[in-house]
């Protein structure tokens, strides 16, 4: 980690087992804080998304997900989190 922080306004709960690995959420996320697993898969064999710091709680992932995998939360007070390095 670089040590830089990013203001994080929200977070998500991801139902990993519902995910069918379609990747739509990755491009839909405006701050690009979702990243698909590479080797880890759920019990159905699909890769699934994981969350990086910097979520704004904009709900784009929830709206775009065809399998209803996301719950979206907005923090009462935004939190400074360590920014993930570019993969």
């Amino acid at each position: 980690m670089s040590g830089e922080t990013v203001l994080t306004r929200g977070t998500v709960v991801i139902d990993v087992e519902m995910c069918k690995g379609c990747d739509l959420c990755i491009d839909a996320c405006p701050p690009r804080v979702l990243e698909m697993t590479v080797h880890e898969v759920n019990t159905r064999g699909y890769r699934y998304p994981r969350l990086l710091a910097g979520c704004t709680g904009c709900q784009a992932c929830a709206w775009i997900c065809p399998d209803f995998c996301f719950q979206v939360y907005k923090y009462d007070t935004p939190i400074e989190l360590l920014k993930a390095e570019d993969a």
């Binding site: 977070t11 709960v13 069918k20 990747d23 491009d27 709900q59 775009i64 065809p66 399998d67 719950q71």
Partner: protein, 264 residues
């Protein structure tokens, strides 16, 4: 050493409010067998949320056509009348004429509405029936495996046009929204898309406006919603949103075609 990935298995410990639950309130069962990356559940979510946002849930009746989306018809917390392929508009007409205080909407695919049921939707619109028809348009008959429909774009590969739709052999696509907008009975006609969050947000507004137009009794309302079908399009799921933009959207251009009740 700080973890790269944040915990997402449970709600946050820090004080936060839930802004979006897994499924819309009116969806009983979220799990379905539609393909990964299918746009239809995205559109269904938008429709259900729009119904909920109006004060009309307890008057709402959904009339479903036959297509992949039919998988939703028996797991919604909305009264559902299941129709045959292409026939939802005539059923919707009967429902609304018998019970004028209900909020009646149809959910149909492009194959259902523009192939099998073109006569139904055009006449329903021409009569100005106070119902709202939603067409999930992915340019293919998805449920039977991905075949050409009347909305398939020229050059689009489908199971029975493997070399791409050719005007000489297969004729030209029908822009049903354009046809409907021509009819005096149609009060609101729009095209949306669900290939990115911005389009989903715009489409939700169109859906809500269409239902409002019905409630106001202005006439027939219609929203065509372009949806992804990576299976029918022979593309990988992350490429489908761009394929929609490059292949379907140029033929069926998103936007509001008609809104007789719009304040100028």
């Amino acid at each position: 050493m700080t973890e790269r990935y944040l915990p997402t298995a449970a709600p946050p410990e820090q004080p936060a409010r839930l802004v979006d639950d897994f499924t819309p309130t009116l969806l009983d069962v979220g799990e379905h067998s539609l393909c990964p990356g299918c746009g239809e559940p995205i559109a269904m979510r938008a429709i259900l949320e729009a119904i909920e946002s109006l004060d009309a849930v307890q008057r709402a009746i959904g009339v479903f056509g036959i297509g992949c989306y039919t998988a939703f018809s028996n797991n919604l917390d909305v009264e559902v009348l299941q129709a045959l392929h292409g026939r939802a508009p005539s059923l919707a007409t009967g429902v609304k004429r018998a019970k004028p205080n209900t909020l009646v909407l149809t959910v149909q695919g492009d194959g259902d509405m523009v192939n099998e049921g073109l006569q139904e939707v055009l006449h329903t619109a021409a009569r100005g029936e106070r119902v709202t028809c939603f067409m999930l348009d992915n340019g293919v008959f998805g449920e039977t495996g991905g075949h050409m429909t009347a909305t398939t774009a020229l050059g689009q590969r489908t199971k029975n046009t493997l070399d791409g739709r050719d005007a000489e052999q297969h004729g030209f696509p029908i822009r049903v929204s354009t046809l409907i907008a021509e009819l005096e009975g149609a009060a609101y006609v729009a095209r949306g898309a669900v290939n990115n969050a911005g389009n989903v947000a715009r489409t939700k507004k169109m859906i809500r406006r269409a239902l409002e137009v019905q409630e106001l009794g202005l006439g027939f309302s219609f929203v065509e919603i372009l949806t992804m079908c990576p299976t029918g399009w022979f593309v990988d799921t992350p490429e489908a949103p761009d394929y929609l933009t490059s292949t379907l959207a140029p033929v069926h251009a998103p936007g509001v075609l008609k809104d007789v009740g719009a304040k100028t």
